[in-house]
Structures are given as structure tokens and as C-alpha cells.
Amino acid sequence: MQAHQRMLDPTPNGLHSGESPLLQTLGLTKRYGDFLANDSIDIDIWPKEIHALLGENGAGKSTLVKAIYGLIQPSAGEIRWQGARIVLSGPSEARSRGIGMVFQHFSLFDNLTVAENVALGLDGRESFKDMSARLEQVSKTYGLPLDPKREVWQLSVGERQRIEIVRALMQDPKFLILDEPTAVLTPQEADQLFIVLERLKAEGRAILYISHKLEEVKRLCDTATILRGGKKVETCNPRLETAASLARMMVGGEIKEVKAPAGRQTTVPRLVVNDLSLAPSEAHGVRLEHISFELKGGEILGIAGVAGNGQDELFAALSGERLSRDPGTVVIEGIAAGHLSITQRRKLGAAFVPEERLGHGTAPRMRLSENALLTGHAASGMVRRGFIDTAATLKTVDRATETFDVRKAKRDPEAASLSGGNLQKFIVGREILRNPAVLVVSQPTWGVDAGAAAVIRQALLDLATAGAAVLVTSQDLDELAEIADRIAVMFHGRLSAPLATSEATREKLGLLMGGSSLEPKEAAHAVGA
């Protein structure tokens, strides 16, 4: 086993022989109650290495890095730093030893400036002025431009990530952990990040790169450790693997391919949005500006874009969680619905699946049958004269379970006890079983295992084939390419004109996601043609 791994180790053996890894975990185990989040994980990270940590949601990636960064104490096993066993009392000790981390969810204060945010994350031995100067210098050296005096709320997501990275780099770490850094970036921004990471590697630092984007990992990483169900499955050289073989190791089997059923025809417009503008409901929210599109039956329209560009606001405006003053801005099945409540819109034949499964799409501590009632009470015969028909709600649970392969411990458990994938299958199933004319879905497979994601994507395709209009908002461009007929991009509360999926290259979408316009190029095309 050891020999096998060493053989696959991509870094030249000569470099490592006689040395010890920069960071090493030995039999690292973390137990939560009966649940083993990490089961005896061994991982070696060498200097000058970009090491990918791959795995599906719930595979134990976050738990492992939290232990390495001192956020949690392992239940068993040990961590070695430059060959010596260490016990980290907390993140500040990790940082002082030279371990830095950039989280997926930023911890920044919106109303403070860039420099103030960075100062809050440092130990504060130097003056604010010196610190600001160093901040500018670090950001210049690594090509991460930042204006220290700007307030965070004015910055894009990519710029906010830069703050986090610069903050980590100012402590001169030997080892940097990045948790899904490209999840919030446009393809172009991701390319720029990779240049920075290559440079950090050349300086002799080690990077642990958490991701589930396999092409990215193949391109960037020297080594990949794959976790599944809390256990280490394999350590390999990702460049010698295919995306499919990496996916198999992550999932532990083949993934069903999603097939677009034949004979899909577009019919009449079922969801039309006319010049929808909406002021933000909270400070620093996104203002929706002049959004218009038309979605026909049998069609799937994808909305791409970096998170926080108005997707949540658009979902609220379409679902009726926020009302529009002008009824004509949202037309469902030919009826002006901008002023109608979510219940009235459901009665018109619309159905909605929000991004947050727990707390928005379902009440976490309520049973599935009650959560079926949550969206079904208006139009599914579950309520008669104000009284709940419990048998009807349970029947919906059973049908969703059967049709969408929802796995659960008992017939009617609490929503919170289901895994992310199974709960999402239930939520999508609950809505599809109502035979909606229009389905608006936000991030349908976010944080869902590959098997469940395939089931959900197939269900959306089947629903469109049956004649419904489907609107899918997703940050996953591959997902949109797989199921959408047309793709539009949201940026700063505006929606671009939709592109046919066949023409929507990553480059084009990336430009739109970064706020550039395609028009001059297209005009040039038009002239050329």
C-alpha cells in the first residue's frame, strides 16, 4: 500500500526521501455521536505541492480541514507538522505555526473597509498604517488588486475572496487551505486564481485544495486524496486519471447518465416576465433591473451567474414571496400575477423549489407529511373545510418516495433527518407530483450527491417533456449545459439575453458573469455573416 502510493506520488521521489512531509495526519478520526465523520485518515502534504481533497458532500472533507486548522479536536489519531506531533488549541495557533485557511463562506464585515477587515483578522502587533502598506504590497506582489479604503459591501464576490486570500497571505503561511474557492468565481476569475496558486507553489508553499470540480483538479493539482463516507479511498495523481475515473472513486460506482427524452416540443408561453424591476428589501441587497424573458412549455431556461447577483431576489419576485406593484411584470399561464401571493400563484399552476432546503423549502423539525402540506395546502386536495386530510399528505410522501427514490429511515420522518440529496429529491418530487405548468428551481443539485443530482436533473427534463416550462437557476455551468435549452446570465440585478445552449461557451458565459457585454462581438459576427 505504502509502495503503491509512493509510486503514484507525482513529486520526484528524490525530493522527499529523508524528509518528512510538511503536514501529515495519522489515523485521524472524528466522531459525532454514532457518526464517523472522519475514519482513520492518513494524508501527507509536501512543500511545493497543490494537493486536492476530493469527495462528495458529506464525505468528510470539511471535518478533516477543520481538524487541521484547529477548529475541532480529533477524537483519535494525530497531526504532525514538519515531522513533530502537534495538538492545535485553535485556529490562532494553527496560523502562528504557518497554516492558513480561506473559507468558502467569507467572514467579512460589510460596513468596514478592506483594510479594517484585514486588521481584524491579524494579531495586531503592527500599526494600522504599516499594516495597510503591507496589505497593498502583498496584494500587488501576487496580482490580487485591492483598494484598502473601499467598504466591503461595494465589492464583488471575487474581490471579497481576494481579501480573504490576502489576509491569509499576510501571515506568510507555509501551508494554505482553500475550501471550494472557485464555487463563486467566473471561469476567467478562476483562471486568475490558478496563476496565483501556481506562484505560491513555486515559492515553496503547500496548498490543500478542496473541490469537486474534477477538470479543475486535473489541471491544477499534483496530488489528489479522495474521501468517501468519511474514509480515504485513494491518493493518486489526478493528471494520470480521467474525470470519469475520479468521479467513480468519489461516488463509488457509475453515475447514471441524464438523457433528454426525445420528442420535446415547445408550446405556448407559460411564464413571461416583462420589465421587472424591484428595489432591494434589505440594505446591500441587489436591485432587480428591467428583467424580461419568455419561457414556453416544454422548455428549460437556465440562469447562470455568480451568487449574489440578484438570483435570490428574482426567485422571491417570481414565487410571490415578494410582490410587485405592477401585476403585468410576472405573467403565469397568461394571467398577470405580479401582485398575487405565492399561494395564488401556486393555484395558477406554478411550483417553486428554493435554494435552501432546510428552513426555506422545508420546516426542518416537521415531518415530511407536514412539509408536503406546506406547499400543497392550496391546490392539492389536502385540506377540506379547513381540516387537514392526513391520509392525503401521507400519500404524497409515499408517491414522492417511490417515484424519486427518497431513502429514509421510516415512513414519515422529520425533514432534518434526511440527507441533503434525499431531502432535495423529496422537495423536487413534492412539487413535480403537483403537475405544475411552470416550475421555478433554484440551485437544484447544490450540495447533493451525484446519484441524487442525476435523478433530479432527469426529473426536470421529464417534466419539460411533459409540457411544463422550467426555469433553473444554477451556479454550476455543467449542470445548465446538461439540461437547459437556453442560458441567460444574471449580473448586478440584470439578466442578459438568453443564448442557445449550443452557442453558450464557457468563455461567453464567463464574460457575461463578469459583467462584460457580448454585443460588439456578436455585431461583428453579424457583419461577418
Binding site: T343, M366, L374
Partner: protein, 363 residues
């Protein structure tokens, strides 16, 4: 060795039932220590509190009489609390109900008004309680004012208003200057269930309220709405339920029930309006609501139990000279333990040993 709280995958229904009992057990242990410190024999004191009242018919009836307002108010409060609306002012709504109902009794005093008087008093009291509760509810919805503070402050307004009436305009001219109205006429009095006893029609109304609440919460879409708005506000909005409307509705219902309890107390056991008609029913009902797990049947049982502490407290005062305030100490400690034990529904205790052996405690 370390004791940690660990989240359960699913809420424990067993603990949900057992936790009030654990809380009562812990309260009794604490009270035993307290009695010992006061220099009283703990066993005799506990006997006076919990056993003696159960041994004679008068005390048993008196428990039911005391439980009647507690249960009625607590049912209303439980609807508020389930919907995440924090009505702390039931005491004030109780007093305003008593005042409004008494107005009819005072105005018809000595006339030959017919059988309509009592029903009219009940309806007016409920309406007044509801309107009084709507003040904090509307302030909350319109201006975002904390309903906890406003509802609590309105208790003192109601208290002083009642005080003014019985010392001023409504004082009984033949009452030797005592701050009280004249005894209500028979048509303005809640009828007794047993001739010469204490039990009155109000207890039957309280039972009906319990049954209605059980059906509302368990079987109807409105009840579901109340539960989901409290349990997951954002999901409730997604479900199409309006949290603000529900704050208004639950406050109105709980105010009406408190007002109804107020007039039943005045037109029943007391027989006239005077200050001090409530030994803090509106506040004790908060304990009843939580001890009863915000569940109608649980509230019925908890209401009887807390009524027992009122009667037991009186008996302990007579028999052992234990101050009546100890009853309030008892009720406070009980609420403390009830809320503490509730965390065991979603969490469990676990013992963690540094030598990596994991033992799980029960809980």
C-alpha cells in the same frame, strides 16, 4: 472526563413527554433543600404542599377552581408561543376582561334585567381582552415594537385602571369604604355545578377550550399555520402563510381567553370586582403553558398541578407558617427547570473521556 451536549438526529418524543416530570422532580429536590434551610421539616412541608390538598373534597374542588383560569389563559398563550409571538401580558388582559364584564354587572345592578346579563358579560369580557391584546400585537406588526415589553407594561395599566374604578365610580356605597363593587346579582353570576360547592360552570368552559385547541392544532390548516410560522418562519412564508396576520390572530385569541377567564373569576368565585382578584394567574399561566409543552392536554394537567401548588401553599402557610411567597419561588424554580430540561429534547448528554473511550449517557 467531560460532559457535552450533543445534538440528536431527530427530536426525542419520549423526552418530550418525560422532561416536565424530570423538571418537577428537580424542583422538589430543590424545594426540599430550601425547606431545610428555612428550618422546616421538608417531608411535612412537601406533604402539606402536594398530598394534603388531595385528601378532602373542598380542596379538590378548589384546585379545579384555581386551575380554570390558569388553563384557559395558558391555552391562549400556547397559541401565541407556538407562533413565535410572545404575549407576556395575559394578566392585564385578564383584568381588563374582568373590568369590561363587570361593567354590565354594575350597570344592571338592582334592575330586573333578565338571563342575558351573564352571556353578555362573557362576550364583552372576551372582546375587551382581545382588543387589549391587540395593542401590543399591532405595535409589533406596524412599528416593530417588542411585544414582550409592551404587553408586560400594559399589565400595570390594567391593574391601576381596575384600582381606580373600584375606589372611585364603581365603589359599593354600602361597602364601608372598602375598594370593591357591590356583590353581583344572581343573573350576573356564574352558576355553580354542585349546590353549596365551589365548582362552577367556568371549569366546563375551560375543558371545552382545551378540546377546541386540541382540534385546532392537531387537525386544521390554521393550527398547522400557527405551528409552522413559529417553527420555521421562512418556510412558512414560502408556504404562503403570513406571520404578521398570525401575530394579530393569536394575540386576539389569547387576549379573549384571558379576558373570559377574568370575568369568570369575578362573576364566579369572587362575586364582585375588587383589587387582587388574581394571584398572578396571567403570569403563572406562562409556566403552565411551558410545563404543558404548549400542548392542550399537557396544559390541562399542568394547570391542575400548578393549582395544587397554590392550594398547597395556603395549607403550608396555615399548618407550618411557611410564607406564601414560597409558592412563587416554587413556581419560578419550576419554570427554570422546565426550560432547562427542554434542551434534552433536541440534545443529549454525553460523557467524553480523554482516553478516547466514548460512553453515552442516557438522556
Amino acid at each position: 472526563m467531560q460532559l457535552v451536549l450533543e445534538k440528536r438526529a431527530e427530536r426525542s418524543n419520549t423526552i418530550a413527554l418525560v422532561s416536565p416530570l424530570i423538571a418537577i422532580g428537580l424542583t422538589i429536590v430543590t424545594m426540599t433543600i430550601l425547606f431545610a434551610i428555612l428550618g422546616k421539616n421538608p417531608l411535612l412541608a412537601l406533604h402539606a404542599y402536594f398530598v394534603a390538598p388531595l385528601t378532602d373534597s373542598y380542596s379538590l374542588q378548589e384546585i379545579a377552581v384555581k386551575a380554570t383560569p390558569l388553563v384557559m389563559i395558558a391555552i391562549g398563550l400556547s397559541l401565541c408561543y407556538l407562533a413565535n409571538a410572545w404575549n407576556i401580558g395575559a394578566e392585564g388582559q385578564f383584568l381588563i376582561g374582568a373590568v369590561a364584564g363587570s361593567w354590565i354587572a354594575v350597570k344592571t345592578q338592582g334592575t330586573d334585567a333578565g338571563a342575558w346579563v351573564l352571556p353578555a358579560m362573557l362576550v364583552l369580557a372576551a372582546a375587551a381582552g382581545a382588543l387589549y391584546a391587540l395593542i401590543p400585537a399591532i405595535c409589533k406588526v406596524k412599528f416593530g415594537a417588542s411585544e414582550i415589553l409592551t404587553s408586560l407594561m400594559l399589565v400595570y395599566v390594567a391593574d391601576l385602571f381596575l384600582d381606580y374604578l373600584v375606589r372611585g365610580p364603581w365603589r359599593d356605597p354600602h361597602g364601608f369604604n372598602f375598594p370593591t363593587t357591590a356583590e353581583f346579582d344572581p343573573v350576573a353570576t356564574v352558576p355553580l355545578l354542585i349546590e353549596g360547592g365551589r365548582l362552577h360552570l367556568g371549569s366546563i368552559i375551560a375543558l371545552l377550550v382545551v378540546a377546541a385547541a386540541a382540534i385546532l392544532l392537531g387537525r386544521t390548516i390554521k393550527g398547522f399555520e400557527i405551528r409552522v410560522v413559529g417553527a420555521a418562519p421562512r418556510a412558512a412564508r414560502f408556504g404562503g402563510f403570513n406571520a404578521n396576520q398570525l401575530i394579530i390572530l393569536t394575540f386576539a385569541v389569547s387576549g379573549a381567553l384571558a379576558g373570559l377567564a377574568g370575568i369568570i373569576e369575578v362573576a364566579g368565585p369572587v362575586g364582585h370586582l375588587q383589587p387582587g382578584i388574581s394571584p398572578g394567574y396571567g403570569f403563572t399561566a406562562i409556566i403552565v403553558a411551558f410545563l404543558g409543552r404548549l400542548n392542550p392536554l399537557g396544559i390541562l394537567i399542568a394547570g391542575l398541578f400548578l393549582a395544587l401548588t397554590f392550594i398547597g401553599g395556603e395549607q403550608a402557610q396555615i399548618a407550618m407558617k411557611i410564607p406564601l411567597d414560597v409558592t412563587k419561588v416554587f413556581q419560578g424554580i419550576l419554570l427554570f427547570y422546565v426550560l432547562a430540561c427542554d434542551s434534552l429534547i433536541l440534545y443529549r448528554f454525553k460523557l467524553v473521556f480523554p482516553n478516547r473511550q466514548v460512553a453515552r449517557g442516557t438522556g
